[in-house]
């Protein structure tokens, strides 16, 4: 398009750029401005930083705790759990998780019931997670890609086991303040929230909310 003995000078380039170039008759700077404005108004995900990076930071932190040989002694078990729990809490949005797991039943609960539920359900999930993480034996996590849409994002990851099989994991994250918080994990297509949602619905269809809470309590206390 622009022939300049095989080289394009910066000036020519600018001239022919759409939106700013003189060739467009001066209308397009305005369009360009409008476009820019539209972009700025739409909540732009990059502002809160990258979901994958934030997720990776937490995962790395947990892996570091798990593989720390000083914490592997029996006497340090409690401290180790506390450290993992702290790292997990920084990245998991327990309320969002509970809300989605209860689905339409969430709306019918009082604030206090909700608070209790979040604490109880969070405890069950944390315990499950801790038990999983403590069985860790050198698996590697790789991040395969992310999709960001407004304040929601998904991060594709894979866990490469010692037997060289890769387990696909999908993290669903929501932007909260400056950070991206996990509210669901899908392992091989099985969503954690979806799985509990089905169980909760089945229980609530047959009995009551109080019964569900009682079952949750019993489950958490199970050794």
């Amino acid at each position: 398009m622009v022939k300049n003995h095989g080289r394009i000078s910066f000036k020519t380039l600018i001239k022919h750029l759409p939106f700013v170039g003189e060739t467009t008759g001066g209308w397009f700077p305005l369009l360009w401005f409008v476009s820019f404005f539209v972009i700025a108004v739409v909540p732009y995900p990059a502002l809160a930083g990258n979901p994958t990076e934030q997720l990776k930071k937490t995962t790395d932190k947990i892996l570091a705790i798990v593989s720390d040989s000083r914490l592997k002694e029996e006497s340090k078990a409690e401290e180790r759990r506390r450290l993992i729990r702290k790292a997990v809490d920084e990245r998991f949005d327990w309320e969002e998780l509970s809300r989605r797991a209860l689905g339409r039943h969430w709306a019918r609960r009082t604030n206090e019931e909700r608070r209790n539920f979040v604490a109880l359900f969070g405890e069950l999930l944390e315990r499950t997670y801790l038990e999983r993480v403590e069985g860790y034996s050198g698996e590697r996590v790789s991040y395969l890609g992310e999709k960001v849409d407004g304040e929601y994002a998904t991060v594709d990851a894979g866990i490469l086991t010692a037997r060289k099989t890769e387990i696909p994991i999908l993290y669903r994250m929501k932007q909260n303040g400056g950070s991206w918080m996990v509210y669901d994990i899908s392992i091989e297509g099985v969503s954690l929230v979806g799985n509990y949602r089905n169980q909760f619905q089945s229980i609530l269809a047959k009995s009551s909310y109080d019964e569900l809470v009682r079952m949750l309590k019993k489950k958490v206390e199970e050794k």
Partner: protein, 254 residues
């Protein structure tokens, strides 16, 4: 004049991209739905159409399925797990993974034919490639040299092919011994028998040895999985049914 068109096109593109962002659909995008829902007066309505496009699996046989669930549960804890644990103690992991590779390689016709049925040319080629490589270079499939070289396996079965043809799952069936299935998957596995080389063995004794060693071997590599599902679940029957079905949906989609 050309520039005009070019700029117009780019402006349209820009606008379109912005729209995409604002609308909030796609993989992660329940954002749009939720934002509008929260301002609407009926919170319960939006909870109904949350982001899971729940193609719920019908379970009219639930009472019977639950009985078989308990049966399979006992079978696992009383028979299969003790046998697999003993076997695990005797046979080193490398050998067990080798045997698993052997059985995976043996099931090549199933994956190959179903790649073809679903018109996955690349999948069929890669399956053929890894079958030839592993059968010859990998000592009858014990070593997954193709996998190590980056050739993918395509976990396609007849149930997925039938789903791709547009057949619905029917309903959930929890078979004694075989576990979670659907009406469609049950039909599928009947057809799959014809694609299974073990099925063509002459003596029923040999067929039994093949099948049961495959079962014990793969169980030995997965001890603890079922236990943790049970431990985390409030209703293990529903948890397993849902996990089975969600996993199926993902495999069909792929």
């Amino acid at each position: 004049m050309k520039n005009w068109k070019c700029t117009l096109l780019m402006a349209c593109l820009f606008f379109f991209v912005n729209l995409e962002f604002a609308r909030g659909e796609g993989e992660a995008g329940y954002g749009g739905v939720i934002r509008t829902a929260e301002t609407s007066a009926e919170p319960e309505e939006f909870e109904e159409d949350f982001y899971y496009v729940e193609e719920g699996l019908a379970d009219p046989l639930e009472p019977v399925n639950r009985v078989f669930f308990v049966f399979n549960d006992r079978l696992y804890f009383w028979l299969l797990k003790p046998v697999a644990t003993g076997y695990k103690r005797v046979v080193p992991e490398k050998a067990r993974v080798g045997l698993k590779n052997f059985f995976t390689n043996l099931a090549f016709p199933l994956r190959f034919v179903n790649c073809l049925l679903q018109a996955k040319g690349k999948g069929a080629l890669e399956e053929l490639e890894s079958f030839v490589l592993n059968s010859i270079g990998g000592m009858a499939g014990f070593f997954d040299i193709a996998g190590a070289a980056g050739v993918r396996k395509y976990d396609e079965d007849l149930d997925q092919s039938l789903a791709v043809f547009g057949l619905g799952p029917g309903f959930y069936i929890n078979w004694p011994l075989f576990g979670p299935s659907t009406l469609r998957a049950t039909f599928g596995s009947v057809g799959e028998a014809f694609l299974d080389p073990v099925h063509y063995l002459d003596s029923s004794g040999a067929r039994f040895v093949f099948k049961s060693s495959d079962l014990v071997n793969s169980t030995s590599l997965h001890i603890g999985d079922y236990e943790s599902l049970k431990r985390a679940a409030l209703d293990p029957y529903v948890a397993l049914r849902d996990a089975y079905y969600q996993n199926r949906l993902k495999k069909i989609q792929e």
